[in-house]
């Protein structure tokens, strides 16, 4: 009554105006993500480009959403010719990572993978038997992704 609410409202917005903001200044500063966040499915590889995948197809069978497609080398059954991930279908449940007996699959924290088309959401981790640049090499893996809170796309 008598404009008490008007003054109260001004007080609320005034406090907000002076107080600290809550925004992440995203392109300039990156948030440090929780260590177990699962965002981008990747594969461990040796520095000379050989993937750790042994083409056992366990992940392909485990995946509830049929995200992973592996094409096996007919001559060498322990070698995958291609390893395709349709991340548009992925629910990031992490079952493939858990199931992998060779510890080859890994979820990285690289979240800057947005695309303009659905088709480009599908990417290859192994192409023609060689690890693509989407894979994590052993040296890069030693440093946790985005732990420095700054810097560009150092994952993947």
């Amino acid at each position: 009554m008598f404009g008490e609410g008007l003054v109260k409202g001004l007080g609320v917005t005034g406090k907000r105006m002076i107080g600290r903001g809550v925004c992440d200044m995203y392109p300039y500063k990156r948030r440090v993500l929780p260590p177990k966040s699962r965002i981008f499915l990747s594969m461990r590889a040796t520095p000379d480009g050989m993937p750790k995948c042994q083409s056992c197809l366990t992940c392909q069978q485990t995946c509830p959403d049929h995200v992973i497609r592996i094409e096996r080398d007919p001559e060498d059954r322990k070698r995958a010719l291609s390893f395709t991930v349709d991340s548009g279908r992925c629910t990031f449940c992490g079952m493939c990572e858990e199931a992998c007996p060779y510890d080859a699959l890994v979820f990285t924290q690289d979240f800057e993978r947005a695309t303009f088309e659905k088709g480009t959401l599908t990417y290859r981790l192994i192409d023609a038997g060689i690890a693509t640049e989407s894979c994590v090499t052993a040296s890069a893996e030693e440093q946790p992704v985005h732990a420095s809170a700054e810097g560009g796309r150092d994952a993947g």
């Binding site: 409202g9 001004l10 609320v12 105006m17 002076i18 925004c23």
Partner: protein, 322 residues
């Protein structure tokens, strides 16, 4: 008029144009910043230090945009409307003093000159709304006409109380009369009435029925693009400057800041503090409904302003000068 005076006044007019442009540049950025902080976000950050170059980016954008004129629009008034809105606001600034003697035209009825100029502004806004041939624009323009005309009455009546106490309608005299005690302390009711009506006259939220983006798309500037839109915005920001400047001169002591010596700096400081306060109001209050706005003016503000005028008149007679 001597040639020297003519040159001086010409320079003064050019200076006023510069003031107008500077005010828009400052307020464009400052309003975004303040509203942003009220919303707990930082506001413009990408252009320059804390987005300081944002108004220039806006200007380049407006100049580069295609100047669309609707086929059905009244070409002449679509073009002339923004100017009819912006020129009176600019003309009103001619009589507003910054310091004793530092004014382009120190006329004896400066207060009423400002009111006379503000009376033309709703004409410009209504023309803008009508010429665009768009139902949203038309509704916005008609609302603007109704609202601005209704709020001029209590605004003028509450300003009359100041004129009675100061004994003059010359703006410099009114400010000089507040050398020690500002009229905001002597006439608090008149100040409150004038503040509310001035915010309504400036078309600012909670009274921005001409724009009313949640119901009228963008009100009168729905069809405007490019620099014509810039002119409409210029009219609104200039109206805000003139309104705040008037409040500062009439109630907040103008260049007086007792016990410090009078200085034009205080006027600038008070004007921008007041404009920030108006932006703060925008960030706080929801928009009133159109019929409530009219009700507020005709049922409450005009009787209150008249009663205040009567009370101040009695006080002036009884206490001889108040």
């Amino acid at each position: 008029m001597t040639p020297r005076m003519f040159v001086f006044q010409l320079l003064g007019v050019l200076g006023l144009i510069v003031v107008l442009g500077l005010n828009i540049i400052i307020m464009d950025w400052w309003e975004r910043k303040l509203i942003g902080h009220i919303h707990v976000r930082p506001g413009p950050m990408h252009t320059g230090f804390h987005g300081i170059l944002q108004p220039f980016a806006d200007m380049v954008k407006m100049l580069a945009k295609e100047d669309v004129v609707p086929t059905e629009a009244d070409k002449l008034f679509f073009w002339a409307g923004p100017m009819i809105a912006v020129v009176p606001a600019f003309l009103a600034m001619v009589v507003l003093p910054l310091a004793p003697g530092f004014v382009l035209a120190d006329i004896g009825h400066g207060l009423f000159f400002v009111f006379a100029m503000q009376t033309i502004m709703p004409f410009g806004f209504t023309l803008i709304g009508w010429a665009a041939h768009n139902k949203w624009s038309l509704v916005g323009g008609l609302r603007s006409a109704a609202q601005l005309i209704s709020y001029e009455i209590p605004m003028l009546i509450s300003a009359l109380a100041v004129v009675m106490v100061a004994g003059s309608a010359r703006l410099t005299d009114i400010v000089d009369a507040q050398a020690t005690v500002w009229y905001v302390f002597k006439l608090p009711v008149a100040f409150a009435l004038f503040l509310v009506t001035a915010v309504a006259e400036m078309n600012r939220t909670p009274f921005d029925m001409t724009e009313a983006e949640s119901e009228l798309v963008a009100g009168i500037h729905t069809e405007y693009a490019g620099m014509k839109f810039g002119l409409v915005m210029m009219a609104e920001y200039t109206a805000m400057l003139v309104g705040s400047w008037m409040i500062v001169l009439l109630f907040l002591g103008g260049w007086n800041l007792w016990p410090l010596p009078p200085s034009p700096l205080w006027v600038v400081l008070k004007v921008y503090l007041l404009q920030s306060f108006i932006v703060w109001l925008r960030g706080t209050y929801p928009r009133l409904r159109m019929d409530r706005i009219m009700e507020l003016s005709w049922k409450y503000l005009i009787p209150a302003a008249l009663a205040n005028l009567l009370a101040v008149g009695v006080l002036v007679i009884v206490f001889k000068g108040f």
